[in-house]
């Protein structure tokens, strides 16, 4: 399939709308801060910003470079963000699913948040330079299977008519199918090679909205549950701990994979777990707050075929 451009002209309108709304919110005293995106030095680049007054509303942007899931800033792991009043946050659909998950886990209260939802046509893949045009090639893999272009249940969403977009081919399902077709030995060889690249920078953990443990198991040394050095034993243990701890919780924002400086395809693990959860418990991350996660609840209908 040839590369096709993706229309991002709506982002200009969205930027204007979120600036107006941000300014209104501060002026009306409805919120104390907004977690959003601002332009950065490199052409086309954007970075997270926390603004606390109406004057700064003009710095807010939304573009195809607004890749971050800002939900991470609202977790208890981020102590730097003052949480002394209602906080506004800019959310794409995928980001909102994470916030919803955090609400389900009693980490956040809906009434403490002002959700500014973004009708999203997609963002750039981590492999693309920030100034790259958004196309069927340069779009992030997660966007290719997005079912959440329009976040639901927000306090404010700019009203936009989505321009028709090209058909996007799913990349994760294809890759998962490829891996599933391998023998266990081949699959193990694949993951061994991938985990060998890990340098234990923990970027995957630090950007994950669900990695909100105040002290990660991997940072404990009494006892040392997981080897800390970037070697096969500790790397493998860490990535398995991570994948398992996120099963039934991961909302699919793919931040772990985006930020990995060594390009380990971490979201494949998350997507595979999501697939299992769907098959076994008919569970998938969505926009409805659910305080009984699939792996934190027992029902008699649960699959028990693994008990032999």
């Amino acid at each position: 399939m040839s590369t096709q451009p993706i229309d991002t002209s709506i982002y200009t309108t969205i930027t204007a709308a979120i600036r107006t709304e941000a300014s209104r919110l501060f002026t009306a005293g409805e919120i104390v801060a907004i977690v959003g995106y601002a332009a950065a030095r490199r052409k086309g680049a954007a970075q997270p910003i926390i603004i606390t007054d109406a004057a700064a509303a003009e710095t807010l942007v939304f573009t195809e470079s607004c890749v971050n899931n800002l939900a991470v800033y609202l977790t208890k792991a981020k102590k730097e963000i003052p949480k002394n009043g209602k906080i506004g946050i800019i959310v794409k659909g995928c980001d909102l699913k994470a916030l919803v998950g955090l609400m389900g886990e009693s980490q956040l209260k809906r009434e403490d948040l002002y959700l500014i939802g973004i009708p999203c046509a997609g963002v750039l893949a981590s492999t693309a330079q920030p100034a790259t045009e958004l196309t069927t090639e340069t779009i992030a893999s997660k966007c290719c299977e997005c079912d959440a272009h329009l976040p639901l249940g927000c306090d404010f969403v700019p009203s936009i008519a989505f321009p028709p977009g090209p058909q996007l081919e799913s990349r994760y399902s294809a890759e998962i199918a490829r891996l599933e077709a391998l023998t266990p030995a081949e699959r193990w060889a694949y993951w061994k090679e991938q985990f060998a690249k890990c340098i234990k920078c923990y970027a995957c953990r630090q950007v994950c909205p669900f990695c909100f443990c105040e002290q990660c198991l991997c940072d404990r040394n009494k006892p040392q549950m997981v080897d800390t050095t970037p070697r096969p034993a500790g790397n493998t243990a860490w990535h398995i701990v991570r994948a398992m701890h996120l099963a039934g919780r991961c909302a699919g924002c793919a931040e772990c994979e985006r930020v990995c400086p060594m390009d380990i395809p971490l979201n494949l693990l998350n997507r595979k777990m999501a697939k299992e959860l769907k098959e076994l418990f008919d569970y998938e991350a969505g926009f409805e707050v659910n305080d009984t996660g699939p792996l934190t609840m027992f029902t008699e209908k649960d699959d028990q075929s693994f008990i032999k």
Binding site: R42, E80, K200, Q206
Partner: protein, 335 residues
């Protein structure tokens, strides 16, 4: 001494060295990403790619064993790693920003404590730098006083020439020795002009002004402003050619195990976490401040230079877009 070497002869040199048992480390693709790694053959070399991690790991590996122990009854046997066993190495195609970081590391690892692991590898390594002909808007070597033809840290320095091949300039006895022992592969320069060099679009930053401001602003609202977005991973430090912090841990069982040294980063919460539970750098802005202070003040105080060579790797990989070039430029404009 200035010589000419063709691409083919450079490949021959590499293959000859490998055949003679020398470890040749150069940029190559490794499980989907470019890294400086030992080559099996010159055909693997990919000098047009900027390795995802810097060349520092040729001397300061991501993780290395420094000792092993065995316990039997009351007997404990300790075995040191013998640095004499480290291989002779030639590091080829090193970017100027990576090569320039090597003397920066030398100063630290030969300072109050002589780190034999680093120093022995360093003694046994010849560095062949390569001028940059491409750059992107994250590159900022020119901002910190270096350039795409900076030869600092290189024993030999290659500049690609129009029409193919390289001008090869000697910068040390090690470099000269490599040419002398392979003289048939080198010839006199043919007068060809160098290829157009990379031109990072960043103006020189007055680092003395940056340092002067940092001297007076340990406490400043700036730190909260820039670092509130920092998520506290170690990616910037790990891809940095000059960052050199490490941790030492014992891994294994009570009966047997190894003592290992591996990269650490001041961005981590755990980095300054005391056994008492107290953490003097309890919030991320204090940790990010240390990153900037160490690079542009503390290191300068001790060694009279900057702990940053403008490679731009941290700018490219920061999960939240923190741009150190922007930060030091902003600081340089402060009163």
């Amino acid at each position: 001494m200035q010589k000419y070497i063709s691409e083919q002869n450079l490949n021959t040199l590499i293959d000859t060295l490998i055949a003679a048992g020398t470890r040749v480390v150069a940029p190559r693709m490794s499980a989907g990403i470019p890294l400086y790694e030992p080559l099996d053959s010159s055909a693997e070399m990919a000098t047009d790619l900027l390795p995802r991690r810097s060349a520092k790991e040729a001397f300061f590996p991501v993780c290395e064993e420094i000792m092993s122990y065995e316990k039997e009854g009351q007997q404990i046997k300790l075995t040191d790693v013998d640095p004499a066993r480290f291989p002779e190495t030639v590091l080829v195609g090193v970017r100027p920003c990576d090569a320039a970081a090597i003397p920066v590391l030398d100063a630290v690892f030969s300072w109050d404590y002589k780190d034999e692991f680093f120093l022995e590898r360093r003694r046994k390594t010849t560095v062949i730098g390569l001028a940059c002909t491409t750059s992107d808007d994250a590159c900022f070597c020119t901002a910190v006083g270096l350039s795409p033809v900076e030869s600092r840290g290189s024993d030999l320095f290659l500049t690609p020439l129009e029409g193919g091949g390289y001008a090869c300039e000697t910068w040390s006895e090690k470099g000269e020795a490599l040419i002398t022992s392979n003289s048939a592969l080198f010839s006199d320069l043919n007068g060809a002009a160098p290829m157009p060099l990379a031109a990072p679009q960043v103006d020189k930053i007055e680092l003395n002004k940056v340092k002067a401001w940092l001297d007076e602003h340990f406490e400043d609202p700036l730190w909260d402003g820039i670092a509130v977005r920092c998520v506290g991973c170690g990616a910037c430090a790990f891809v940095c050619p000059a960052c050199h912090c490490f941790d030492i841990v014992d891994e294994g069982t009570e009966k047997a195990g190894k003592r290992r040294k591996s990269w650490d980063a001041c961005g981590f919460w755990k980095f300054t976490h005391h056994a008492s539970g107290h953490n003097p750098r309890d919030l991320q802005p204090k940790r990010y401040r240390n990153r900037i202070m160490h690079k542009f003040k503390y290191y300068d105080d001790k060694f009279g230079q900057t702990l940053c060579t403008g490679c731009g790797r941290c700018v490219r990989i920061c999960p939240v877009g923190i741009d150190i070039a922007q930060i030091i430029e902003d600081i340089s404009r402060k009163d």
